[in-house]
Amino acid sequence: MFLWPPLPVVLPLFTAAFVAAAGPYLPRKLVDAITLGTAAAVMAVCCLLTLQSSGSAIVYWFGAWVPYGHFPIGVAFVIDPMGAGMAAFVAFLVMAAFTFSWQYFDDVRTLYHSLMLIFLAAMCGMCLTGDIFNMFVWFELMSAAGVALCGYHADETGPLQGAINFSVMNTLGAFLSLSGVAMLYSRTGALNFAGIEVALQRQEHLGVFLPIVFIFVIAGFLVKSAAFPFHFWLDDAHAVAPTPVCILFSGVMVELGLFAAARVYYSVFAIALLPWLPALRTLFLAVGATSAIVGGLMAFGQRHLKRLLAFSTISHMGVMILGFALFTSTGLAGTALYVLGHGLVKGALFVGAGILLNRFQSVDEFALQNVGRQMPKTAIIFILGAVGLAGMPPFATYFGEAAIEHSGTQAGLPWISIVIMLSGFLTAGAVLRVAGRVFFGWGEKPTGESRAPRIDLKREMQGQKSKTPPTMWLPAAVMLIIAIALGWFTPLRQAILRDATWFRNTRGYVAAVLHGSAGGPGQYHVPVPHAMPGMHIGGVWMPDMWREVITLALAALLAAIALFPYAIGRRAGTALRHGAALAMRPLHAIHSGKIGDYVAWFTVGIAALAGYLALRR
């Protein structure tokens, strides 16, 4: 009990320092093995913590500084199954990334291993912490390591730009978050989530202080979660980051932004902000829906594979935000399932893109046309990935979507289903289009200005490998298999619903931290909805999977039209292409790549969110 909770953070930090010191003097394979082993150990510990905490939350006071009276003076980890499970998932994806990079970089130095381990430690800290400043520290550490990893071995010209955009936007967000923490502290004198919650209950005349501070505190997390209009840095960062790093950026880092916002909301603000709940719901629904649609459209408009996948992440983040924005247990459980499903599917797709990059030194869709005819494994990765993105059963994404849609319909918001369908339609369509062009050679040859420059992406992978080693495609296969297996595994869905219900129980959380879960009202004494929606028929198949079937069929149609626009007639095809280009122009214009524009969007976005809440009472 005293041993396990700190290990997910401390173990990788220690190994990172060790590898940084001793790495240059050790054989490369040994360093690979040590780092992979550390990630595996962290995953094992996190799984153990998930099980241990499923009876009652684990409250772990560092330095044995238990609350003085009932006032917290130290830093605590408050571990519930949701947090520990998320940390386990983080560790799993880090393992996948390490496996993939086993033979990926030729001249890799141990800095990469150290930074990845620090990244892992920071993400685990975010998942497990019960203290707002501590969360900020891990958030900062995550950004510091993330920026460095992003600029490690740039794939493109202007390699530093992506890292710089990442760094500037996240620093701005972090600045507002830290201001928010200080503002909270000025009224409450507390940094522990539960401590702040209790102190806020005693405060009077808070007025509009609280909603504004809430937005400030989560500003950094919103930037990290790539919610519209704070998402601009994300595709720039993905475009230059090495493939194994992209797996983590898209698979968990972005999702952790939403996780942190949800954690802060449910353990600190939920009760105090109750009068603002309708306004908050409107806000987050708007943000989620906009992200889903803008991300989807932009994804379809890309020919740079990594950018395409990055925009698809923004779109699917929109779906996850919708699940949170319902403020229901079922919605949150849906988001959690969706995080797992999406992280695995997207990780596999990035592996696919990395394999292409490795073989052909390019991630440009047109440059890669018809090169993949002899690559059945990679083709399967892309096609299955598209199916997963469309949310087809039995992928875990389907069950996440189903729960969110169910909760949305119950809340009288059936349009949520349409937004989710649009997101799946556009992103799956984009991936299918790429698959058709690259692996089957379909599609019109580009003409004139759209002719592909044979981009020289020499840096990430020197020495062309004629055969893709199994350490590259294996992680993708495993991730896709798990993404499917999770869908079939009914107890997991049930457990996630239970964990989401606990996650939202503010009073139980506070009691567990300040009074100990034994004796006082235990954290988990809340009624749990007895079943995830629509899991009755044979445990898996649902009557309303027609939505996903339609989504996938339309996505295939969309891909076909994009590949063969002239099949519907020369004139009509031309008109369609020009119309689409014209319609997309404003969207492309705002994704300018200029950091000044991003900052302007950030200030407007934060002012709009906080201002709306301040004016709505």
Binding site: A17, Y60, A148, L160, S186, L206, A608
Partner: protein, 249 residues
């Protein structure tokens, strides 16, 4: 461009108004009676035998935060090295290997004498700040930065060659990692004794003495090592790059 300015103007006006609203709701200057500072001021001497409350918070009550912060510095230094290396490689000839050994103008006698005279006191003062954090304001972070200025003074007094001679690059890299790892290990000693991470396991000694505070001075020294080495690495990388650029232009 115009759109950007309009957007930013709107946004920043709103943000300033909101920021101001919140600040108006905060306690006025001198009116903040934080229960946390009251508790810590009451507790830090009897519980921890530490007379500097800030150090008690940094390295013990909230020492776990500081572990993270130490690694933020660690990751930032590594990140800077990575990005500088990328930038250097992209420009080709500026990779800064020994072939393009930077040469610079010799400083005047006055600068040399002053800088050299300051090296000794700087080292002594740095060590003092690192080791006395538990008694007076200071500690590993502040002292580490002071220590890192000593090689910089040597560079000012002479040139980059001398800077490199007195700072073994491999040794500095190892020291930085050891400083980071040591913090993690000191915290883990308690785990072996079945106590929570970072629990004090050493005798607290008498308040006001240099050995007071149990593991606090040890953590402080680990941090000092990490910070000093980290900053020297940064100086090394930046000097190398700047001088190489000056050389080529």
């Amino acid at each position: 461009m115009k759109l950007r300015l309009t957007l930013f103007g709107l946004g920043i006006c709103g943000l300033v108004a909101l920021y101001g609203t919140v600040i108006a709701h905060m306690p006025g200057p001198g009116k903040m009676h934080s229960p946390y500072s009251r508790a810590i001021n009451k507790l830090c001497v009897p519980q921890r035998h530490v007379t500097d409350a800030v150090t008690a918070v940094n390295f013990d009550y909230r020492g776990f935060d500081t572990l993270g912060e130490e690694f933020i510095l660690f990751a930032s230094v590594m990140g800077t090295l990575v990005l500088l290396r990328e930038a250097a490689e992209n420009k080709g000839p500026l990779s800064g290997d020994s072939a393009s050994e930077p040469r610079n103008v010799r400083p005047t006698e006055a600068v040399r004498v002053t800088a050299l005279a300051l090296v000794g006191p700087t080292v002594v003062f740095g060590v003092y700040v690192v080791t006395h954090g538990q008694l007076t304001p200071g500690g590993g972070f502040q002292g580490g930065v002071v220590l890192a200025t000593a090689p910089l003074l040597v560079y000012l007094a002479d040139d980059f060659k001398t800077f490199k001679r007195i700072t073994s690059h491999a040794l500095i890299e190892i020291s930085e990692a050891v400083g980071g790892g040591m913090y993690a290990v000191i915290g883990a000693i308690a785990l072996v004794l079945s106590r929570p991470y970072m629990t004090n396991v050493l005798p607290l000694a008498q308040s006001g003495g240099i050995a007071s505070g149990g593991i606090i001075p040890l953590i402080s020294i680990a941090t000092g090592l990490e910070v000093a080495a980290g900053f020297v690495l940064l100086l090394y990388a930046f000097l190398q790059k700047t001088l190489a650029e000056r050389e080529s232009s």
